[in-house]
């Protein structure tokens, strides 16, 4: 298909929204405008005039300057070289832009996302032979993209036909042909190590599948209390400073995923620098390779043009789908989806569309749902399994969860990690509220925990949540009539709940040991603390004063266990457990004897 060149002129400039006279341009088509050649996208058509949203600042652009249609919608390049990189909201490579153009992002500059010169060692699939029928998504071969990631080169989803030729093993750059396919119309298509795909069009798969195992994040309150399945959708709402970004960074660091895509959408520049600085130095606990070897960043920081912010999450999710199609478990983090919704609001406001709630357009809910729908676990075109787990931060104005973005998101997702300002103010981190949070996947997660870790998981989890609920109730009573009103057993519940909060729920992202907790360690800590509680409760039955129990030195140590023993030191943790429980046994026999004497 030969694209006819479309040329026109600018009519009107209203911030990022520009009216152009460009006959024949299509809705959604990419345009370049003005003498600088700023990039943008057509968002509506009326007669010969088109409205375009521009990804860059339109300062000093004037009516009468030229505009041209590029003949394709906003697309991304998909191929080796993505991992480890940082791209802006329309996939421009930021490292390269920095080297080429300096500290600030210049306008009209658009280097190609992927390096064209670099050679990649391509190893063709052995099962493929000429004249075989081949479909979109089929694997042509592999390229080692980073030491961790084997990049599976697949046929673009929109090509199907008969394989004519496949290149032998060798070094190829991205523009060299590595295979030829005769498509259904008889045309010969040259396949390369990369292809392009429009970001607003979900990539196809065979069928959807249920999630089967939890994503392990190494964060106790997440994995143990509000588990998230691979392929699930999750929201992390919270007021500023409550810990959304830290939760997202922790998941990006420690989740047992193959690929992590982190989209900084309208947030701070320094938070991306933090990832860029720290990830290459941190090791993936599963592969022992630098974390950056499986991570990719998309950055549209809060000060970058707002229209590219709207695009950024689509760029992220399309890249996520591409790795899913290779059979990987991908985690995509979007910090923050509220900024994306605001970008939508801003554009709709400039178009004069009718706002429905808090200035948001009527289509907010459906756009959100359609975006989250791109997550999931699927059977790929190639009959493999791949998944995208999507975790979106939500930044409700004033921390009010009833606002439109939070409430619409809540209806779409399966797991909800609600952050609380009160907990954060008390420096209880992660400030995840165990009352407001939920997971619809506890049942499936329980199967995994019971199989792989311990059969007692679901019971212990329920016991802990029950105690936290009792704690809240009893604290209310204390606040009405004072602590004297409580029985010894009730006061021990308060102590037990404090142990759970301090020894299990609180987890410092900054502590080198505590930052990651393996599932084994998570369960051992929980089980230990609940065993101590149970022992104590039995002693109170025997008449041991709660004060004596609360002051046992072993409790102070128990609170510190999480940072004293790392995930590999389960033996030491077991030894401590025996010691701790022995202390209780001793008191037990002491009191039991006394009981017998008085009897």
């Amino acid at each position: 298909m030969k694209q006819t060149e479309k040329k026109g002129t600018i009519q009107d400039i209203n911030g990022p929204i520009v009216t152009i006279k460009l006959p024949g341009v299509q809705n959604g088509e990419q345009v370049r405008i003005g003498s600088l050649g700023l990039y943008g996208e057509v968002i509506s058509l009326e007669g010969e005039e088109a409205l375009a949203q521009i990804y860059e600042s339109t300062e000093m652009v004037r009516p009468g300057e030229p505009a041209e249609g590029l003949g394709h919608p906003l697309s991304v390049e998909l191929g080796p070289g993505l991992i480890g990189g940082i791209f802006d909201g329309v996939q421009r490579p930021l490292e390269e832009m920095f080297l080429k153009a300096g500290d600030q992002i210049p306008r009209g500059l658009s280097p190609l996302p992927l390096d064209r010169e670099k050679l990649w060692r391509f190893v063709p699939s052995e099962t493929l032979e000429p004249n075989m029928p081949i479909i979109g998504g089929a694997r042509l071969g592999v390229v080692q993209e980073t030491e961790t990631v084997e990049h599976r080169i697949i046929v673009p989803p929109d090509i199907e036909g008969e394989l004519i030729e496949l290149a032998p093993e060798g070094d190829y750059n991205l523009e060299e042909t590595i295979g030829q396919v005769r498509d259904r119309r008889g045309q010969v298509r040259h396949l390369k190590l990369y292809h392009r795909w429009p970001v607003r069009k979900p990539r196809p798969y065979q069928s959807r599948d249920n999630g089967v195992e939890p994503l392990i994040t190494g964060q106790r309150i997440l994995d143990t209390f509000f588990p998230l399945l691979k392929g699930s959708k999750c929201a992390v709402p919270g007021p500023f400073g409550a810990g959304k970004t830290v939760v997202q960074h922790q998941v990006a660091r420690w989740a047992n995923a193959d690929i992590v895509i982190y989209v900084g959408c309208g947030e701070r520049g320094n938070e991306l620098v933090d990832v860029l600085d720290s990830f290459p130095k941190l090791k993936d606990p599963y592969t022992d390779r630098p974390l950056m070897d499986r991570t990719l960043l998309i950055a549209n920081t809060s000060n970058m043009p707002v229209v590219a912010r709207e695009a950024s999450i689509y760029v992220g999710i399309t890249i996520a789908e591409y790795y899913r199609d290779q059979g990987y478990d991908v985690v995509m983090l979007a910090d923050s989806t509220s900024r994306w919704a605001e970008a939508l609001r801003e554009v709709s406001g400039r178009l004069g569309q009718m706002p429905v709630e808090e200035g948001y357009p009527a289509y907010l809910a459906s756009r959100l749902a359609a975006f989250y729908e791109r997550a999931g676990r699927v059977e790929t075109m190639d009959c493999g399994k791949g998944s995208i787990t999507l975790i979106g931060a939500v930044s409700p104005p004033g921390g009010d969860f009833s606002e439109p973005v939070t409430s619409h998101t809540k209806e779409i997702i399966q797991t909800f990690w609600a952050l609380s300002k009160e907990l954060a103010d008390a420096r209880h981190y992660p400030a995840i509220d165990w009352v407001d949070s939920f997971s619809a996947d506890v049942g499936t997660a329980a199967e995994w925990w019971h199989e792989s870790i311990d059969r007692g998981w679901e019971k212990r989890r329920a016991q802990a949540l029950g105690m936290l609920a009792r704690d809240a109730e009893l604290s209310r009573i204390v606040n009405l009539v004072g602590p004297e009103a409580l029985s010894s057993a009730q006061r021990w519940v308060l102590e037990g709940a404090t142990l759970i909060k301090e020894g299990v729920l609180q987890q410092s992202a900054l502590d080198p040991v505590d930052t990651f907790s393996s599932p084994e360690k998570q369960f051992m800590l929980l089980d230990l603390i609940l065993s101590v509680y149970d022992e104590g409760a039995a002693l109170i039955e025997l008449g041991v004063p709660v004060q004596e129990l609360a002051e046992m030195p072993v409790l102070a140590r128990l609170r510190r266990c999480k940072e004293l023993y790392d995930s590999s030191q389960t033996d030491q943790l077991k030894a401590f457990r025996n010691e701790a429980l022995k202390d209780f046994k001793e008191i037990h026999s002491e009191y039991a004897q006394r009981g017998e004497q008085t009897a």
Binding site: Q11, D12, I13, N14, T19, S57, T58, E59, M60, V61, R62, P63, G64, L94, E95, M97, F98, A101, G102, D103, Q104, I105, P239, F240, G241, R268, G269, N270, V273, L276, T301, S302, N303, M304, V306, R339, E342, R345, E346, G349, P355, E358, G359, P397, G398, G399, D400, K421, A426, R427, H428, N479, L480, G482, P483, E551, L555, A556, R559, R560
Partner: protein, 459 residues
């Protein structure tokens, strides 16, 4: 500069002037307007088509008469002239002198709406700045290149605190070149004079650039003022290698001016009448702070804002908190008790503290001590609450200890003199004085080594 003047103004509403039939005018172009008295006003193009151009008039459109209004388009963006001579000078929101001295003459002119910093060009801010204020240094440390606002409210001593920070801020063992950029929007004469006298008496005046817009100056000028100030700051930091501390007050007046213009333009309001783009607009300002690879200078930003009706969830503090790297929140309650600086630590936060403190930066116990104080104070406030319901006498001995801690913490740690410049060492030792009121096993945020070393009972 185009010489052509147009007399085709067709509408004037709020701060906006519509001019008809002017072809090919650039979006963002700077505009000069002559009114019937021959006075000049300044403006900027905020929408442009060949039929109609919309101009935002900084001085407002009051008393304009469409017939005799002459409009000239200067064919340049709003710019500021830069040279080392800006130090020691005072400008208005348009970059014109307001100290009765001649304008800056320089070939170097920069547009005040700079392109965004490439995140790949930034370096992570890590250098601890000692402000000498315990609640900041000990619990919410400021680092070079950070943006850390003060959330205040009317009648609270935010200006005094900002001035104390300017006076005392230093890097331990470092005396590199340091400048202050002061941006005042909609401030009263007494506030402006307070800062001027402060800078003069502490001898930094020659290192300060001031941009001032008074309460009775045109509000629209408040929109360009912070951008003028930051363009000057960027020049000082990244051209002249200086460490620049930018103090901006009061961001609430800035946001109100933005709302005024947005309303006049008919923009769709989001919350409390503020336009939906208030977040992005504030971010364009705040994100200009930071550190850049291979540059020696830095921009540290301390914006001051007053929370309307003391409400931290109001859009202005709320959106600010979502952008800045923490916040220092002042409390009316502490202020009423005569505690200066009345820093309410619970909602205060420094997000960049984690990488700027500890072993190689301040002292190894600093992160844990800070955490421990926070945890104890949170518990102590709960206990105080309980005591107010059931009476302090009903409290257990353990709870009474928390109550005493709350008082000691506020009166000894939070409270300090306006001229009291505590070293970080002093702040941390003071913290241990307070922590030592608790038995070691009650302190679970500090580790056993730290307890052995600093807890008074273990001595």
């Amino acid at each position: 500069m185009s010489a052509k003047e147009y007399r085709t103004a067709s509408a004037a509403r709020g701060g906006l002037l519509t001019v008809a039939d002017v072809p090919n005018i650039a979006f963002g172009d700077r505009v000069r307007i002559r009114d019937q008295q021959g006075n000049t006003r300044n403006g900027q193009v905020i929408r442009s088509s060949n039929e109609e151009v919309l101009v935002q008039v900084f001085e407002g459109t009051a008393e304009l008469d469409l017939e005799s209004t002459w409009v000239r388009f200067l064919d340049e963006p709003v710019e500021i002239a830069l040279s080392p001579e800006i130090l020691g000078r005072v400008f208005n929101g348009l970059g014109e002198p307001r100290d009765y001295r001649p304008p800056i003459v320089s070939n170097l002119r920069r547009s005040i709406s700079a392109a965004a910093f490439n995140p790949a060009a930034r370096t992570y801010p890590k250098e601890f700045i000692q402000t000498g204020v315990s609640t900041i240094d000990g619990l919410n440390s400021l680092v070079r290149g950070q943006k850390l606002p003060i959330f205040s409210a009317s009648g609270l001593p935010h200006n005094r605190l900002a001035a104390q920070i300017v006076r005392q801020a230093k890097l331990p063992d470092d005396d590199s070149r340091f400048s202050v950029v002061f941006a005042a929007m909609g401030v009263s004469y007494s506030d402006a004079r307070f800062f001027q006298e402060e800078f003069a008496s502490s001898g930094v005046l020659g290192n300060v650039v001031m941009f001032v817009n008074m309460a009775d100056d045109p509000p629209v000028e408040r929109l360009t003022l912070p951008r003028m100030a930051l363009t000057a700051a960027e020049y000082l930091a990244f051209d002249l290698d200086r460490h620049v501390l930018v103090v901006m007050t009061d961001m609430t007046h800035y946001a109100e001016a933005l709302r005024e213009v947005a309303t006049a333009k008919g923009d769709v309001p989001a919350r409390k009448g503020y336009p939906g783009y208030l977040y992005s607009d504030l971010a364009e300002i705040y994100e200009r702070s930071g550190r850049i690879k291979d540059r020696h200078g830095s921009i540290t930003l301390v914006p001051v804002l007053s929370m309307p009706s003391d409400d931290i969830t109001h859009p202005i503090p709320d959106l600010t908190g979502y952008i800045t790297e923490g916040q220092i929140v002042l409390s009316r309650e502490l202020n009423n008790q005569g505690i200066y600086p009345p820093v309410h630590i619970s909602p205060s936060l420094s997000r960049l503290m984690k990488d700027g403190i500890g072993k190689d930066f301040t002292r190894e116990d600093h992160p844990h001590v800070s955490n421990q104080l926070y945890a104890l104070y949170a518990r102590a406030l709960e206990t105080r609450n309980l005591a107010s319901i059931i009476g302090a006498d009903e409290l257990s001995a353990r709870d009474r200890r928390y109550l005493e801690f709350a008082d000691a913490f506020e009166s000894r740690f939070v409270r300090q003199g306006e001229d009291e410049d505590r070293s970080i060492e002093e702040t941390l030792n003071l913290a241990w004085d307070l922590l030592s009121a608790f038995p070691p096993q009650a302190l679970t945020r500090v580790n056993e080594t730290e307890i052995a070393k600093y807890h008074r009972q273990s001595e």
